[in-house]
């Protein structure tokens, strides 16, 4: 067994530098690597390119890095929850590459799977297709999209083991398994860390081969953006 366990967040983030490209799992605030983001927001790293479906909210998630202007460029699909983001983007302080959500997911997976490019119909005829190759398949136009990789991919799982295997819970899974595949170094923080052999090998979502470092996360806040309920 190849042991991926690291004892603390310093070891987990060893090698992190300014001007790198990072991927962050999560959809909205669900399934984001809270501990790692918080730690990054306390460090002197900037000029970052961040690939993440969303950009957090003003005081949480990637909003923390935005506030400190650590991010040079965001690659996302939806950023509507963050006023500071919109301000930085409209003022030109922040470069933004907006990508259809399914294309973003598939580009990350492709990066991890050694597929350099694929065709998708999403975005044909829109701004997204600008300067991209168009090709007709089955009578329908598609555009060519390239894969994405990152210097570090940061993901968050529910359970993990020392071999780096990960299991996610509910919709906190989202982009995490795809970005885990696409990081040159993938760092996972988990709510529950087990010795290898404790997790059922049939139930693992991310095989440990995609994960270089795994650490125990703590104090998960798990903020809810839209608390919607019904009465009993």
């Amino acid at each position: 067994m190849i042991n991926k366990f690291v004892e603390n967040i310093e070891l987990a983030l060893d090698g992190v530098k300014s001007n790198m490209t990072f991927m962050f799992g999560g959809f909205g605030l669900s399934g984001i690597p809270e501990n790692i983001i918080k730690e990054l927001s306390n460090r002197e790293v900037d000029g970052l390119t961040c690939i993440s479906n969303n950009a957090g909210v003003d005081e949480f998630g990637l909003g923390l890095l935005l506030k400190r202007k650590q991010i040079k460029k965001m690659i996302s699909s939806y950023v509507g929850e963050n006023a500071e983001f919109e301000r930085q983007m409209l003022s030109g302080e922040l470069e933004v590459d907006l990508i259809p959500q399914g294309t973003l997911a598939e580009r990350c997976r492709a990066g991890g799977a050694g597929i350099p490019a694929f065709y998708t119909p999403a975005g044909y005829g829109t701004e997204v297709a600008k300067d991209k190759e168009v090709r007709i398949f089955n009578g329908k136009p598609h555009i060519l999209e390239n894969s994405l990789v990152a210097d570090f991919a940061f993901v968050k799982a529910w359970k993990g083991d020392t071999a780096g295997n990960l299991i996610y819970k509910g919709t906190a899974r989202n982009f995490n398994p795809l970005m885990a595949m696409a990081g040159k170094i993938t760092v996972a923080e988990v709510e529950e860390l087990y010795p290898a052999g404790e997790l059922d090998p049939n139930h693992i979502h991310t095989p440990g081969i995609f994960v270089q470092r795994i650490m125990q996360g703590e104090n998960y806040e798990k903020r809810i953006e839209q608390r919607t309920t019904r009465k009993r």
Binding site: F27, G28, L29, S30, G31, N53, S76, S77, Y78, V79, G80, E81, E86, M89, L90, V96, L98, P100, Q101, G102, T103, L104, A105, E106, C108, R109, T120, P121, A122, G123, Y124, G125, T126, E127, V128, W158, Y168, K169, G170, T171, A172, R173, N174, F175, N176, P177, L178, H205, K222, R223, I224, E225, Q226, R227, T228, T229, R230, K231, R232
Partner: protein, 218 residues
């Protein structure tokens, strides 16, 4: 009288077909889930990774690890399944989801839709909308007929950057049901008490009107 948002949702619910998978966008489309006709089995897909979405949780039972694409806390029903974003869009891009209902800022008579960007002003991003409109076999738009300034959102050509081309099949607004045909918008129903001339007045695109236009049954 013009419909309210719930009535728009209720009218759209009449379009639901038995044994189909449906993706509902944020806003009015989400309300459609409250009006599923009797005897119709539907499973709702949310592109952040869940199929078989149920109603909102009871107070105190919200789970931050269980949300929909609008970031709202949800529940799951028997037979539900969770998955990652690549599989979610495999369902969408691969046309396994039969119907998509979503909001729009503009719809053109060619079936183009704009709902993700107002240049220089509002840039929230397209989220999953571009993938959805590029692949769904059936796309129904739920929206108000006019914007806050009173301008028609039913246009000959979209002014805003589009989300997808030639994709919308039907539009249900507070005033009318419009089908998109090869020749443009066909006015197929009007809201109860709303006259054809009122609809024409609120619409920037040409409307194809053949014979009597029936009132919606809500």
């Amino acid at each position: 009288m013009a419909l309210d948002k719930n009535q728009i949702a209720k009218r759209i619910a009449q379009e639901l077909e038995h044994n189909t998978y449906v993706n509902l966008g944020i806003g009015i489309p989400t309300l459609v889930a409250n009006y599923i006709p009797e005897g119709i089995d539907i499973e709702f897909q949310s592109e952040n990774g869940v199929l078989g979405m149920g109603p909102f949780p009871f107070e105190g039972e919200e789970d931050p690890d269980l949300i929909n694409a609008g970031k709202q806390t949800i529940t799951t029903l028997d037979g539900a399944v969770l998955f990652d974003s690549a599989i979610s869009f495999a369902m969408i891009r691969g046309q396994h989801v039969q119907l998509t209902v979503l909001g729009a800022m503009e719809v053109s008579e060619k079936g183009d839709i704009a709902n993700w960007k107002i240049p220089g002003k509002m840039v929230k991003g397209m989220g999953g909308a571009m993938d959805l409109v590029a692949s769904a076999q059936n796309i129904i738009v739920a929206m108000m007929h006019t914007n806050r300034l009173g301008d028609s959102k039913i246009l000959k050509k979209c002014n805003l950057p589009i989300t997808g081309k030639n994709c919308v099949k039907k539009v249900v607004t507070n005033l009318a049901v419009l089908e998109i045909t090869e020749d443009g918008f066909k006015l197929s129903e009007r809201a109860p008490g709303v006259s054809v001339s009122e609809i024409i007045a609120a619409t920037a695109a040409n409307l194809i009107i053949t014979g009597e236009v029936p009132e919606m049954i809500i």
